[in-house]
């Protein structure tokens, strides 16, 4: 029972890291980016390639798994995403689905369609007992990393100059520009960090979630659920939503395996029916 709760929390934490970039681009900047999972997949594959072809250690690949998607994200934001910020949601959806399809086919072409295995170092394998509760070493590692990142993110968004500039730019671009805030650079940077975090999540999650070319499609709905159910006011809502979904999904798969992902989808529709703006939306 407690093990399930623990696994659920680890899963939820991972989901939050994966979706945190989306919480900013979709939640705050109001850009429907269905291709967010593609950056996560990029991070996962960076780790796989570095470990399998260049023999690097798992931990050493993680910074690269952050950097590469971040750079790709920055480049795409500058060229393709930016003109779409003030287009309709339909256009944004079409565009980002297009990116998903392209990334799925491209990874399939270069890496093959098989499931990729990531071998975590031996000190992260296995599990240990705390008061009779089996706790996976890797999962506790993931939780620890995610807590650190979450705290850093929340701090950066609420306490730093960068964070307040970003919030200002999101609230009212024109006024922010008028005050001398470089909105364009700010958005590029934010997008890059979001993509990088997603890549890091993909690398960390390759062992738990699996990694194959259909990753962006399989998990797209989960990221979107985290953000829409969590509400679009900040990071706390998506964080709680991610934990909720993680626990509900793991528990559902354990107790009612025949229901599959039914519980999650039904839960999402129910929440959106009662509160279309998400669970933790700011009152406006």
């Amino acid at each position: 029972m407690l093990t399930i709760l623990f696994d659920g929390v680890a899963y939820g934490m991972l989901l939050f890291i994966l979706a945190s970039g989306l919480a900013v681009t979709l939640g705050l900047m109001n850009f429907v980016n269905l291709a967010h999972g593609s950056f996560a997949m990029a991070g996962g594959y960076v780790t796989v390639v570095l470990m399998q072809r260049y023999g690097m250690g798992f931990l050493a690949t993680l910074p690269v798994a952050f950097l590469v998607p971040a750079l790709i994200g920055a480049a795409l934001e500058r060229t393709l995403y930016r003109p779409l910020y003030d287009k309709s949601h339909l256009d944004q959806v079409l565009f980002s689905i297009g990116l998903v399809f392209m990334s799925v086919a491209a990874v399939d072409y270069f890496m093959g369609s098989q499931q990729q295995l990531v071998h975590v170092p031996s000190w992260l394998r296995g599990r240990f007992d705390i008061g009779g509760v089996g706790v996976g070493r890797y999962r506790s590692f993931v939780i620890a990393v995610c807590i650190v990142i979450t705290v850093l993110l929340q701090f950066a968004l609420t306490r730093t100059r960068f964070g307040s500039q970003l919030r200002a730019a999101v609230d009212d671009q024109r006024v922010a520009r008028g005050l001398g805030i470089e909105v364009g650079t700010l958005f590029t940077l934010t997008f890059a960090v979001g993509s990088g975090l997603s890549g890091l999540g993909g690398a960390l999650g390759a062992e738990m979630l699996g990694l194959d070319p259909t990753f962006p499609l399989k998990f797209m709905i989960y990221f979107l659920i985290v953000v829409t159910v969590g509400g679009r006011a900040g990071l706390i809502g998506p964080f709680l939503a991610a934990l909720l979904i993680g626990v509900a999904d793991v528990a559902g798969k354990y107790y009612l395996p025949q229901a599959g992902a039914f519980i999650i989808y039904a839960l999402m529709i129910l929440v959106l029916l009662v509160r279309p703006q998400g669970l933790f939306a700011a009152a406006r």
Binding site: L26, V32, L80, P83, L84, K87, H89, L90, D91, V93, L94, F95, I97, G98, L99, V100, F101, M102, S103, V104, A105, A106, D108, Y109, L217, I221, L224, I225, T228, Q258, A259, G260, A261, F262, Y265, A266, M268, I269, L272, L273, P276, Q277
Partner: protein, 363 residues
């Protein structure tokens, strides 16, 4: 039979608009003019243009010209009907949906199960497919009334995923991953047997498409259709001028679901096979591309898009069968990032040139 149901809803939809026009007639002096002007405009909109007749003429004569690609043409007709259905809600009512495959799939399964368990008559099966899909459409329509575009995207996607999961786990009914096999379909109207080349299949699908298209054309050219556009463009203003927003959205969503169900029914009957593939996400995504290629908000958009998309798919998937989704994706990205304006500009220029050509000859 399939036509009677949608058109029957028309008079009811007519009333509120007529009601809003009437008070104006009593107060303002030139009121009769405004109502007759609206009537003339509607009638002019409804008049058949020569290009439309040409389009359907070519569609009917196509089997004579290309007897070998009947199966492809059948697919085009079905995809065209499916895209027409999405156009009703996206192009006319402005509801963004990422889960339209749910209705296609429910229609396909309903038609398949009907043929297996009840009767092999195709028309009765088609009605069953439309009914089943419209029940789901009616139930889920209440979910898309509230919230923003994003909420609607999520809810439609969620409904489609739920239906997929249901079909996947309810093995005793749907056959799970194996799908419904061994479907046999009787002759259409008791006269025309389905043949291997797909001649009957194509003409049957085309006939259904044409009848449903006629109904849609009539409805979208009616005050009901105009009121849909009004609420798409400005929901607040539409409701302020007396358009009942929610009833209309429920009605058009259910109607679109029935259309998609008919497309699914045709798919099941003409391929005699139903699998989970009809409910896959890529169906909904591809459908958006189809409609965007042809253009939203006019009824031929879906049909033109279906022709272009299927030809594109035929060529590209013959070249790279495994990676053809890449090219679909590229097309989407290019289209949104400026390609669409270029295409539409070229289309408009072409139309002007043709018009000038004909005008010149007549003069």
């Amino acid at each position: 039979m399939s036509m009677a149901r949608p058109t029957a809803s028309l008079p009811a939809a007519n009333l509120p608009v007529a009601g809003t026009a009437a008070p104006a007639a009593t107060t303002a002096a030139p009121a009769p003019d405004t109502t007759s002007l609206a009537g003339t405009l509607l009638r002019r909109r409804r008049a058949w243009k020569p290009v439309e007749l040409l389009f359907w003429g070519v569609a009917i004569l196509a089997p004579l010209m290309l007897p070998r690609s009947m199966l492809l043409m059948n697919e085009i007709a079905i995809l065209g009907l499916f895209a027409l259905s999405l156009d009703l809600i996206l192009g006319y009512a402005g509801i963004v949906s990422l889960g339209h495959a749910a209705f296609l799939g429910v229609g396909a399964y309903a038609a398949g199960l009907f043929a297996l368990n009840v009767s092999t008559d195709p028309l009765a099966g088609l009605v069953a497919a439309m009914l089943a899909a419209s029940v789901l459409g009616l139930l889920s329509s209440f979910l898309v009334l509230r919230g923003s575009d994003l909420t609607r995207l999520m809810v439609t996607l969620g409904v489609a995923l739920l239906v997929f999961e249901a079909a996947n786990s309810w093995r005793s009914l749907t056959g799970g991953a194996d799908g419904l096999q061994g479907i046999t379909i009787g002759p259409v109207l008791g006269l025309f047997d389905f043949d291997l080349q797909g001649r009957t299949a194509y003409l049957y699908s085309l006939a259904v498409l044409f009848l449903l298209f006629l109904a849609a054309r009539r409805m979208m050219g009616s005050p009901f259709g105009l009121s849909l556009r009004a609420l798409r463009d400005n929901r607040l203003r539409a409701s302020a001028s007396g358009v009942g927003v929610n009833e209309r959205l429920v009605l058009v969503y259910t109607l679109a679901a029935a259309y998609a169900g008919a497309a699914g029914g045709l798919l099941a009957q003409t391929t005699q096979f139903v699998s989970l593939d009809v409910l896959e996400f890529h169906r909904s995504a591809d459908l958006m591309l189809v409609l965007i290629i042809g253009g939203t908000g006019w009824l031929y958009g879906g049909l033109v898009g279906a022709v272009l998309f299927e030809l594109f798919q035929d060529v590209v998937s013959a070249a790279t069968p495994q990676y053809w989704q890449f090219w679909v994706g590229l097309l989407l990205v290019v289209f949104v990032s400026g390609g669409r304006e270029a295409v539409h500009k070229a289309g408009a220029a072409l139309r002007r040139r043709i018009a000038a050509l004909f005008g010149g000859r007549r003069a």
